[in-house]
């Protein structure tokens, strides 16, 4: 079935996102990895909508919500990263180690 390809693509995209999140040290790159994960979800939603042929367009509407809320999330996230940068002149998340254990 052709629908398998987008699903595999989404799974790969999600995995790339998870890998980036765990391996990157730059806060903005971590943010981008999270965006990749959200993009994978969007692909999944649209694919499942196409398979199910859902008349209510749930998958497509959900995808739009994911994009809009993802953008809002990035707005807040970048604001927090700017705040950190202003005080420490670094956005390396390994430097944020005031609190441990």
């Amino acid at each position: 079935m052709a629908a398998v390809y987008p699903l595999i693509f989404a799974a790969l995209l999600f995995s790339v996102g998870v890998y980036g999140l765990l391996s990157r040290r730059h806060a903005v790159l971590v943010l981008m990895s999270i965006e990749l994960m959200l993009a994978a979800v969007t692909v999944n939603l649209v694919t499942f909508w196409a398979i199910a042929g859902d008349a209510l367009l749930t998958g497509q509407v959900f995808a739009l919500f994911v994009m809009a809320i993802g953008a809002a999330e990035i707005g807040v996230g970048l604001a927090i990263i700017m705040l950190i940068y202003r005080n420490r002149a670094s956005v390396n998340i390994d430097d944020a180690d005031l609190m441990k254990y």
């Binding site: 999600f14 996102g17 999140l21 806060a27 971590v30 943010l31 999270i34 994960m37 959200l38 994978a40 979800v41 999944n44 939603l45 694919t47 499942f48 909508w49 398979i51 199910a52 859902d54 209510l56 749930t58 998958g59 509407v61 959900f62 919500f65 994911v66 809320i69 809002a72 999330e73 807040v76 996230g77 604001a79 927090i80 990263i81 705040l83 950190i84 005080n87 420490r88 998340i93 944020a96 005031l98 609190m99 254990y101």
Partner: protein
């Protein structure tokens, strides 16, 4: 409702929206917007307010010209006029007004919840219904959780007021953000659709990320905000992937329909299990179950203390309500697959949370780890997956909300006295000099430990009883063991306050409780004592409330 003219080609009708189903959220949200508008009033903002008013008035006039009806921009213009009048008369930013208005909004929302209780549920919580095209459920679980969340938010207003004043970070955004977070939590508790779960979760998270970093010059607060944001967004993405797979299985995002589809025989088992696992991981992050708890102590320590209290209490209540609704309410038929996973998570959560709390020296961080352990206790009712279990968890979360807001409230007083973080050794001799606040802190800690005579004991009794009846006695034994470890570090704090002598070199400032703070703490303490001695009424309510809309 305003009539919107639509072009003829599109067959599109405006759905009949039962606004009553989301009336608490609407009241809260409206109050938040009003408070936000109020913040723009101030001596130097006359020109900006005048422009805003003109824009709103223009919108109202255009609306009247187009439809011949008075439309909602008119309301906006009215608000703008009020705001303009405020700006012209107030010499200072009206913080008192913001706080009072927010408190009033929350009280009004509690009234609306009571109205829903009476009318929509027909005076009986057993009767349940969903509204808004099955997006929102008005049932016992939703209403009970709403009360928990609103109580926590109400107490957080006076606590936040005095704390933020002392730390000189009193910007009026605190109140609207608190209200918006409460909107998200209310909505999460009543989400009947996975789409609503996602949206409300993000609404509350975005507000809480900002509140965590509210002390923006404080490095720990910033760090807490960064960690909370990164891990929160990560967990949202995981949850979302689980939601997408559930949609793939069911072809709809309606929660009961997803539950039925997961249990159906022709559903590929692997897909169902992966979807469920992702949902569990997502919710475990939000409710701070080990091993997805890493953010909790850091965020709780970094956030301004009143925010921590609110976050610990209300977020947990709302996230557990959604957890209960999805797993116990909808996926009850596939218990065999999710109970073992949650059982393991809960067991290690209780043990790890209690053990790591023992080794902490910072009081706030200790309470953060204790919050992790408490998430494990609350999960016992979820794992029991029975009616008693649901009512036990609901009652436990209410009790936990009161004691956690109270404990963090006294802690915020201590921090104001020292102007820095409080470690356990700082507390030496505190009880001898200030018996009343020390006594209150002791009461909250004893209740967290679950000593008989306090509400915490009754809450634990309710969940443990449900666990034993559901045959989960091994889990209950682990919980009792964890409670014993936990009692050790709570009582260590009390011993330091009353037994040890005050250190000579401790630099302190005046301990000056504001009336609002005293009232909030006294009310929390009273609830703890009353529920500890005479919990019947509230437990009965929780038992009635343990029903999900179908």
């Amino acid at each position: 409702m305003p009539v919107i003219p639509l072009t003829a080609q599109v067959q599109w009708s405006i759905p009949d929206i039962p606004w009553g189903a989301i009336s608490p959220e609407l009241v809260l949200f409206g109050t938040g917007i009003l408070v936000l508008l109020l913040e723009t009033a101030g001596p130097h903002r006359l020109r900006a307010s005048a422009l805003a008013f003109l824009a709103a008035a223009g919108g109202a006039a255009a609306g009247y010209g187009l439809t011949g009806e008075v439309t909602w921009p008119a309301l906006l213009a009215l608000a703008g006029l009020a705001q303009l009048a405020l700006t012209a008369t107030w010499r200072e930013r009206p913080r008192v007004l913001s706080a009072l208005l927010s408190a009033l909004g929350i009280v009004a929302t509690l009234g609306v919840v009571a109205w829903q209780w009476q009318t929509l549920a027909g005076g009986e919580l057993l009767a349940t219904q969903s509204g808004l095209a099955d997006m929102v459920a008005v049932d016992g679980v939703a209403l009970f959780t709403r009360v928990t969340v609103l109580l926590a938010a109400l107490v957080s207003i006076p606590l936040g007021w005095s704390y933020l004043e002392t730390r000189r970070i009193h910007r009026a955004e605190y109140y609207p953000l608190l209200l918006f977070a409460a909107v998200g939590m209310n909505l999460l508790a009543s989400s009947q659709d996975l789409l609503m779960v996602f949206i409300s979760l993000e609404v509350l998270s975005l507000a809480l990320y900002i509140l965590t970093g509210f002390a923006k010059r404080d490095l720990t607060s910033q760090e807490g905000a960064l960690k909370y944001f990164l891990l929160g967004a990560f967990s949202s993405a995981i949850l979302l992937y689980g939601i997408a797979l559930s949609y793939g299985i069911a072809g709809t995002t309606n929660i009961p329909a997803v539950g039925a589809a997961v249990a159906a025989a022709d559903t590929p088992a692997a897909l169902a299990v992966i979807a469920m696992a992702l949902l569990i991981v997502g919710f475990a992050f939000k409710t701070a179950l080990v091993p997805f708890h890493m953010w909790t102590p850091d965020v709780y320590q970094g956030a301004p203390t009143p925010v921590t209290g609110f976050m610990a209490a209300a977020t947990k209540a709302a996230a557990f309500a959604a957890f209960l609704r999805i797993f116990v309410g909808a996926m009850g038929a596939s218990q065999w697959s999710w109970i073992p996973a949650l059982w393991t998570l809960a067991a290690i959560t209780m043990l790890v949370g209690a053990v790591l709390a023992v080794v902490q020296d910072d009081l706030k961080r200790m309470l953060g780890y204790s919050a992790v352990a408490h998430a494990g206790y609350a999960a016992i009712g979820l794992i029991a997956a029975t009616r008693e279990g649901v009512s036990g968890t609901l009652f436990y979360l209410l009790v936990y909300a009161v004691m956690s807001v109270g404990a963090f409230g006294v802690l915020s007083m201590l921090e104001r006295r020292q102007r820095r973080a409080v470690s356990i050794s700082d507390l030496a001799g505190f009880g001898k000099r200030f018996p009343v606040p020390a006594g209150m802190l002791s009461l909250f800690l004893l209740s967290l430990a679950g000593i008989p005579g306090t509400a915490g004991f009754m809450g634990k009794l309710a969940v443990f009883r449900a666990g034993v009846f559901a045959g989960q006695w091994v889990l209950v034994v682990i919980a009792v063991l964890s409670s014993m470890i936990a009692a050790f570090f709570y009582i260590r704090v009390i011993r330091a306050m009353f037994m040890d002598d005050e250190p000579d070199d401790l630099e302190t400032f005046e301990l000056e409780p504001t009336p609002g703070l005293s009232a909030g703490l006294a009310a929390s303490a009273a609830i703890i004592v009353v529920l500890g001695v005479w919990p019947t009424v509230v437990i009965d309510l929780a038992e009635q409330a343990a029903a999900f809309a179908g």
